[in-house]
């Protein structure tokens, strides 16, 4: 029921945006190659949807994002956990992890293609590199903010390392990790698009380049909108999981 209301709110927001868009284009007489009319983009959306092709591109991009996302979370948490636990790892690796993280991966995308080939691997690497960091930070933060009493409880109860993670440390990090995931997810979609932009014969990133170089504005906007749809799907997925797993947290106690 709550879901339904939320969907309604989003639809209303989108409708309002479309209206503003329409008024802007008409009132300022914006040429179509800069911003096409909503109706034309609507037509392009439907046209793309009704051809088999779109689904293919859509699934390719979603698949890449999902795979990169899952791996990014696993690696991010694992490394974050190790760094949070072992001071010497933090000392030795942190400067380089930070350096690697702050490197604009977008600029490296062409090099990723050279280094990891034209296939799936380079795309996956790019996406992982985007999701990895926020999750890692969340893991470290969560680990460090386990309260003193909880640490004592864990020691007294005799949790092994795995139980510590599953029973206490991971749940404790979840609020931070989810905040990181929301940010990382956006980056993951961007990464997938850039990767497809550089190399690839399918995916929404490919559609973007194709429609951009052929100046097909309505199709270009439609492609952008479909990339946003991918984003929304992942965002909804994360929000769903967040509500599922964070029901107990203070941040969820507001009505």
């Amino acid at each position: 029921m709550l879901r339904l209301r939320q969907v309604g709110e989003y639809l209303a927001a989108i409708l309002f945006l479309v209206l503003v868009w329409y008024v802007y284009v008409v009132a300022f007489d914006v040429p179509a190659f800069i911003v096409p009319l909503p109706a034309d983009v609507g037509k392009a959306l439907i046209e793309m949807f009704s051809t088999q092709d779109l689904m293919h591109h859509f699934l390719v991009t979603s698949g890449e994002v999902l795979a990169g996302f899952v791996l990014g979370i696993v690696f991010g948490y694992a490394i974050g956990y190790l760094i949070g636990k072992f001071k010497f790892l933090e000392d030795a690796l942190m400067p380089y992890i930070l350096l690697a993280q702050t490197a604009p991966k977008i600029a490296l995308a062409p090099l990723f293609v050279i280094w990891f080939g034209l296939g799936f691997t380079s795309k996956l690497m790019l996406i992982i590199s985007m999701v990895f960091f926020p999750v890692m930070l969340g893991a470290i933060f969560g680990l460090k903010s386990v309260t003193y009493n909880l640490k004592c409880l864990m020691q007294i109860t005799g949790l092994n390392w795995w139980q510590k993670i599953v029973q206490v440390e991971l749940p404790h990090s979840l609020p931070q990790i989810f905040a990181g995931l929301k940010v990382g997810m956006v980056q993951a979609v961007i990464a997938a698009i850039v990767a497809e932009w550089i190399s690839g014969e399918s995916g929404l990133g490919y559609l973007l380049v194709f429609n951009s170089t052929t100046y097909n504005s309505p199709m270009l906007f439609a492609s952008i909108i479909y990339t946003i749809v991918v984003g929304i799907i992942f965002y909804a997925l994360i929000s769903f999981l967040e509500n599922r797993f964070l029901f107990w947290h203070d941040s969820k106690q507001m009505k």
Binding site: F28, P31, F33, V209, F210, T214, Y215
Partner: protein
């Protein structure tokens, strides 16, 4: 229509016929980044040819599609993109005009490493060939090349590799050949990669970089456009008439600083390719630099239609304004 217009002075209509008195600031947006090949533009500025024409010119860079859009949106007054990108844009109704056919021929070439068993177009059969996009002129060039040699696109394994990675894909043997800019051939050779090329222009007429401006700007600032062309022609003439070294040295020193140390190879490319093959043709001997071979332009447009890159064909006259001097 858009937020910022960097050069509002450019909007002031110049009095017809007369040379504009006050200095006009204009921006020209060029393909990619600052490379010495844009020497004609840099020389025109540094030698004061632009200034003589009452122009103060600024340079910015972007990819071809963005250039055309920025020109049409009045963000910049002039663009210097690849002609193929302009044809595609025109077919989509973007209001731009080519006012100076600077490069008389296409830059496209299919490049491959020697020793890969490729010596003639026939040898491409079964090979992996990269193009930047299925919507790109390279792709048409590749198709025409294959068909003129009794094959079709199914006979090769066509791959998409973006502009940023395509040359490296060739170097790292990810692909056997690429259809891309012929300028890379010389550069690759120079950096020790033994490559050879099949020029696309031999099969399919096209043009490299051309000067474009928007319909609106051309109609309201025709004199400025003419002044721009005059300065550019003056510059081309200056370079061709014995100043290649000076032009290259100046361009690298003042603009394309990252090409430091490439003076010699660039000079060689200018003497071997730009002067005899790109900037001059039989037509320019007759009509001057930047002259437009309307029949060649029409063929170029029609081929894009034939290969379904553009949906509608149009008359070359609607895009290209010849002899704007």
């Amino acid at each position: 229509a858009c937020g910022a217009k960097p050069n509002d002075t450019a909007q002031t209509p110049a009095a017809g016929g007369e040379k504009p008195k006050e200095i006009q600031k204009v921006t020209v947006q060029m393909d990619g980044a600052a490379v010495p090949y844009y020497a004609p533009m840099y020389v025109a500025k540094e030698q004061g040819f632009f200034k003589e024409q009452g122009l103060d010119v600024d340079f910015v860079y972007a990819d071809a599609a963005s250039i055309v859009k920025n020109v049409a949106a009045d963000n910049v007054q002039f663009g210097f993109p690849n002609a193929d990108a302009v044809i595609t844009a025109k077919s989509q109704g973007i209001p731009v005009k080519v006012v100076h056919t600077t490069y008389q021929r296409g830059l496209g070439a299919t490049i491959f490493k020697k020793g890969k068993g490729i010596t003639s177009p026939k040898d491409l059969k079964g090979k992996t060939v990269a193009v930047t996009s299925f919507g790109s002129p390279n792709y048409i060039q590749l198709q025409v090349l294959l068909e003129k040699n009794g094959m079709n696109i199914k006979d090769v394994n066509a791959k998409i590799v973006g502009t940023g990675a395509i040359v490296n894909a060739l170097v790292s043997d990810e692909v056997d050949a690429i259809t891309f800019s012929m300028l890379r051939t010389v550069e690759l050779k120079n950096s020790g990669v033994d490559v050879d090329e099949i020029r696309s222009d031999d099969f399919l007429p096209s043009f490299g970089n051309v000067v474009v401006t928007s319909d609106k700007y051309l109609s309201t600032n025709k004199n400025t456009v003419i002044a721009f062309n005059k300065a550019l022609n003056q510059s081309l003439d200056y370079i061709i008439k014995g100043n290649v070294k000076a032009a290259v040295d100046m361009s690298i020193k003042k603009y394309a600083t990252s090409s430091e140390g490439k003076q010699e190879i660039t000079e060689k490319i200018f003497n071997d390719v730009f002067i005899p093959y790109l900037w001059q043709s039989d037509l320019t001997k007759k009509d001057g630099y930047g002259a437009a071979d309307m029949a060649r332009w029409q063929t170029s447009i029609d081929t894009q239609k034939t290969f379904d890159i553009i949906k509608t064909t149009f008359k070359a006259e609607d895009l290209v304004v010849p002899n704007l001097k």
